[in-house]
């Protein structure tokens, strides 16, 4: 088995991406888009900005003219980072650069572990020669499709503004332009090593999205999907998002568990099913979330991983208890209650609240929390959800009890609605509108209000317009979740008078839980990210071996066995005739049948076709005893004598001459025996005798 980590990703919206080679099958895991890189672009310019944009374009043209005259004069002076240093062009989107190094037509299987992991898929599925089978959970496929459609519709506004693209290669991607950029932006576009500029692509179209969704094969949690008879693929819930999953791949050579970012606490999605990952040959640990959790590192005292001398296997029971004792759940809940109280305070003071839609789980909980608070305070504040797909999304979430957490499922069994917002929608407390210029919104918009809308990058979508409207109002509030560089995110909206509340939600397996989890899952080998080596230090004595992998390098994991399991049908096995060898230690027999591959196991079934009764030549093995052979030959009336052999000819064991009734030569070597004679009858007679002595198979 071989694994190549194409990208270690970054945070909740950018899952890692790997290429796996298992049982000769090439498997791509996840195909995300780095939407945080959108930050390098300017949001859609306002009328005033547009004027400046025109001017700058003109000066740029002059610049170019100048540079033609004497390009060496051009100085490489890094510009200061301000709103104007952002790229005033139709945004492109950053895909996983390393994936472009692979020929997509050679990929056999694509596994998508979360709705975020599907966002880059249309780029691949539209390629010529793409023929891989894409496995994704039903819920991930639906949510992913809605996210992509939303992205396309938000992007459409910018496409309208900038008009059709004039060239295949945008000017801002030119080396000389990149060098002029402030270092922060250059790093976003080219990556830290400056090699990632090849991953940029113009956005796919709505038709690409539709085609992509037609090509996926949806599965349910714990459904066994079989690829080509060779690989049994199983998706198991990971708890971070509705439909997100870990994978267990079962092939004839063993099994692999792929552990993506997983969460032990979930207030909406089905909880992390770690029991099903138990006891695999290989476990690929691919939860990089603790790399981004700066909090963990800062509060080093609380989160330092206990360094035990040795790791012992742990039972599920102990691990469950260990989990119960942690108070993550409570912390998350307190965070949400705090955010919601800030929002209520803000509308009470006459300001509006803007909540860019980030994680679905947070939004759904906030929606419920804020609605109950509004109910309690008897405030008549409208809540708007502005998105082209919101209506469908909200309807969808209420018909998927199978994908939700235990508490939500209990609501189904009690005959209650899965999410409380349905009631609020009916009561017209929450308004869902497809776009900011929708008739419904224009007619009854009312401020102050609370708005949920996209996009969290603050570069596209209705959030841009609302932020422009409210950024100067000190009474209003912006709630940002998990934004890595808030200064840069808010740059185009400076000066900002509105309040900004930032929150970080934990995602993934906390550092403290990694070792206990692995102790419980008890894989034979763990493939662990090199980047996390500092955080997690495995003791020497442990129940599994650990190999470290790095981005953009292929790690080969040797298969423990160079053999596979095979099942022989009972009716075939009962017909086998065994020959015993070497002091009853070994029995061997010849075997014939039809080989089938089914559910990742070889099956040998009896071959009932009489046409195949012709056997291939027999194989004899054992060294003959020359005395025995002489005796046996004399029994059938052939007299023979033993010729003494010279020591030099090591290949020959002995040579026999027969005299009566006719002449023949039998040469017995270490690997073969040759019978030389004039008559065919004699040859077959001698052959029979030799066959008897040797015992053929």
């Amino acid at each position: 088995m071989k694994i190549t980590c194409l990208s270690k990703g970054g945070g909740f919206h950018l899952p890692p991406c790997h290429m796996l080679n298992f049982c000769g099958i090439r498997i791509l895991i996840d195909c995300p888009l780095d939407l945080s890189a959108l930050i390098a672009f300017s949001p859609i310019p306002t009328a005033f900005d547009a004027l400046r944009f025109e001017e700058s374009n003109n000066t740029e043209a002059n610049d170019l003219l100048d540079s033609n005259v004497g390009s060496e004069k051009r100085q490489k002076i890094e510009k200061n980072l301000d709103a104007e240093s952002l790229i005033f062009e139709e945004p492109w989107y950053k895909t996983v650069k390393n994936l472009h190094l692979w020929n997509t037509s050679f990929i056999d299987v694509v596994l998508i572990s979360s709705p975020m992991g599907i966002l880059g898929l249309p780029f691949i599925t539209r390629m010529k020669g793409f023929s891989a089978k894409v496995y994704v959970t039903e819920a991930s496929a639906r949510l992913g499709q809605l996210m992509m459609e939303d992205l396309v519709s938000m992007h459409a506004e910018l496409r309208h503004f900038y008009g059709p693209e004039t060239s295949d290669f945008p000017p801002w991607l030119r080396q000389e332009e990149l060098e002029m950029l402030p270092s922060v932006l250059r790093e976003i576009i080219c990556g830290r090593e400056g090699v990632e500029s090849g991953g940029w692509m113009p956005l796919y179209s709505a038709a690409d999205v539709k085609n992509c969704i037609l090509k996926v094969h949806t599965v349910k949690y714990a459904e066994e999907a079989c690829y080509n008879g060779t690989l049994v693929i199983k998706a198991l819930s990971s708890g971070v998002e509705i439909g997100s999953c870990n994978w267990v791949l079962n092939g004839p050579k063993g099994d692999i568990a792929y552990l993506s970012s997983s969460s032990f606490i979930s207030a909406h999605a089905m909880s992390f099913d770690y029991r099903s990952l138990h006891g695999t040959n290989v476990l690929v640990y691919s939860d990089f979330s603790s790399l981004c959790d700066t909090q963990d590192i800062e509060d080093g005292d609380n989160y330092s991983v206990p360094t035990a001398d040795k790791l012992l296997p742990m039972s599920f029971q102990d691990f469950d208890e260990f989990n119960l004792n942690s108070d993550e759940n409570l912390e998350e809940r307190e965070k949400l209650i705090f955010i919601s109280s800030c929002a209520i305070e803000c509308v009470n003071g006459g300001g509006s609240v803007l909540i860019p839609v980030n994680r679905l789980g947070t939004i759904l909980q906030l929606l419920e929390e804020i609605a109950t608070s509004l109910d309690a305070s008897a405030l008549k504040i409208p809540v708007y959800i502005i998105s082209s797909v919101a209506e469908e999304l909200l309807a969808f979430l209420n018909i998927i009890p199978e994908w939700l957490c235990k508490q939500r499922q209990e609501r189904l069994f009690a005959g209650e609605l899965l999410f409380a917002y349905v009631k609020l929608l009916k009561e017209k407390r929450i308004h869902v509108v497809p776009a900011i210029h929708a008739h419904k919104l224009l007619m009854n918009s009312q401020e102050p209000c609370i708005v949920f809308c996209g996009h969290w990058s603050l570069r596209i979508g209705p959030a841009v317009h609302l932020l422009r409207r409210w950024c100067g109002d000190p009474k209003s509030l912006l709630i940002l979740e998990d934004v890595l560089n808030p200064e840069l995110a808010l740059l185009p909206f400076q000066p900002i008078a509105m309040k900004v509340l930032q929150c970080v939600c934990s995602s993934g397996i906390g550092l403290r839980k990694v070792q206990p989890l692995l102790q419980t899952l008890q894989p034979k080998t763990v493939l662990f990210p090199e980047d996390l080596r500092l955080q997690i230090n495995f003791p020497i004595e442990k129940p599994f071996s650990v190999l470290h992998y790095t981005e953009a390098e292929t790690l080969k994991v040797s298969c423990q066995k160079n053999s596979s399991e095979l099942k022989i049908a009972k009716d075939l096995a009962s017909h086998l005739y065994r020959i015993t060898f070497k002091n009853q230690q070994i029995q061997i027999c010849r075997l014939k049948g039809e080989l089938f591959m089914e559910n990742a196991r070889y099956h040998l079934l009896p071959d009932n076709d009489p046409k195949h009764s012709l056997s291939r030549p027999l194989v004899h093995c054992s060294l003959p005893d020359s005395e025995k052979l002489l005796a046996a030959l004399s029994k059938v009336g052939i007299n023979a004598s033993l010729e003494p052999i010279s020591e030099t000819e090591s290949q020959t064991v002995c040579i026999l001459h027969t005299h009566d009734p006719c002449k023949a030569l039998i040469e017995i070597g270490t690997t073969s025996t040759v019978i030389t004679t004039a008559g065919q009858n004699v040859a077959s007679l001698i052959y029979k005798v030799v066959d008897n002595i040797f015992g053929g198979v």
Partner: protein, 528 residues
Amino acid sequence: MAIETLVLGAGQEVGKSCVVVTINGKRIMFDCGMHMGETDHRRYPDFRRISHSGDFNNALSCVIITHFHLDHVGALPYFTEVCGYSGPIYMTYPTKALSPLMLEDYRKVMVDRRGEEEQFTSDHIVECMKKVIALDLRQTVQVDEDLQIRPYYAGHVIGAAMFYAKVGDAEIVYTGDYNMTPDRHLGAAQIDRLRLDLLITESTYATTIRDSRYAREREFLKAVHKCVSGGGKVLIPTFALGRAQELCILLDDYWERMNLKVPIYFSSGLTIQANMYYKMLISWTSQKIKDTYSTHNAFDFKNVHNFERSMIDSPGPCVLFATPGMLSGGFSLEVFKHWGPSEKNLVTLPGYCVAGTVGHKLMSGKLTKSDLGPDSEKDIRCQVHQLAFSPHTDYKGIMDLVKFLSPKHVMLVHGEKPKMISLKEKIHSELGIPCYYPANNETVCIPSTHYENVETSDSFVRSCSNPNFKFQKCSSVDTCNSTSTDRNLMPELQVKDERVAEGILVVDRNKKAKIVHKDELLLKLGEK
């Protein structure tokens, strides 16, 4: 190794489905139903046959319920709360959500209206449902180390599932009730091609072949329309779930198209509540209904209202859905007593009524005054329409499924004996598969598949996939004898690539048996 099947219910009859299958030492109970036509101890399966000591937890690995109909789930609270089974119980999400409604409704009918001693309480139902583990379709669950189960879509009612179970190498499927053709709100049954040792299938319509369902639906709508336009009242006795929603979609749609204003009523809040469940479980319905969920949920009925008891004798036409089905008692029977005597009115009955119910007697023309209780004086003169579409598969569907799965053995349950005999003959003669139809409390034992596990070397596997081409020329003599059409079909040169695996099995006394390629044998032996 064998598979032992003990039929505790639905053997050569319809009602109290309960089959206990022992596969390689693991025991599974499929369905735990009650009989609607019986009132004494015979209404429940004879659980003592599973364990005389009553220690069901050790006797059974798990209980599996296929769908929420009472003849499949009715005895479950009794079995868990009174008999004391506390092991795992599996059913699909809709079955888990809807079973308590059915059970509670039944309990009320039995206790409040018939005045019987109750077999289980409301609390029993609640406690029982807490023990249930809900499953999604195709979700493969490892019940314990050896036993694996998986539900497949069965049509029939919302959440109905066929269950696959595997222990070691032995595999079986228990279908429960299923439908091979899609209906108004549900899709058709779907299953993978499996290597089964045993298929236990229902056989309610073992001899019927049904034609187009649309013609039958038109007949029903015409009968209802004729009755209400003549000022009559239509009584549709149904259970709260399943048939009620299907007919309601049908009528609601028809009312809309024909612009009818005659009210459609549901007899109790139960069905309105049931519709709420249907709205959340829409992903278990047919593709057509699923596709429209975001704009209009098909279970938001426009023309349907609640019915009050005081409205029974109010004048004017109407359509009423009343529980329970088959007129087995309760409100539907009460309304029937009021509406039955008028020939203007119409009663629609399902295609199948359990023997012993008023519905069954009405259908077979054997209804007497005494069946309706001592207080009835008038003769029943209303029209009766029998619904000719049913959520059960017909003969053709059963045969299609058996042919598709090609199991080694077939067992028939949930049907009438004469029909089972006829179907058994067909399966045996046409498909060549041995078939059984045990009566209640009988046991059938069949052998099960067993594979020997060995290791195999890679070069043996590789050698098996080597092409083994054979070129065969059709001799001229053959072509002369055959007709001209045959000659076109048979090319002169035939290429065959039949790959036969040949290797050598080495059994070392201290190690696992291993298959090697013949070239490897000497190496292998040389190691010794």
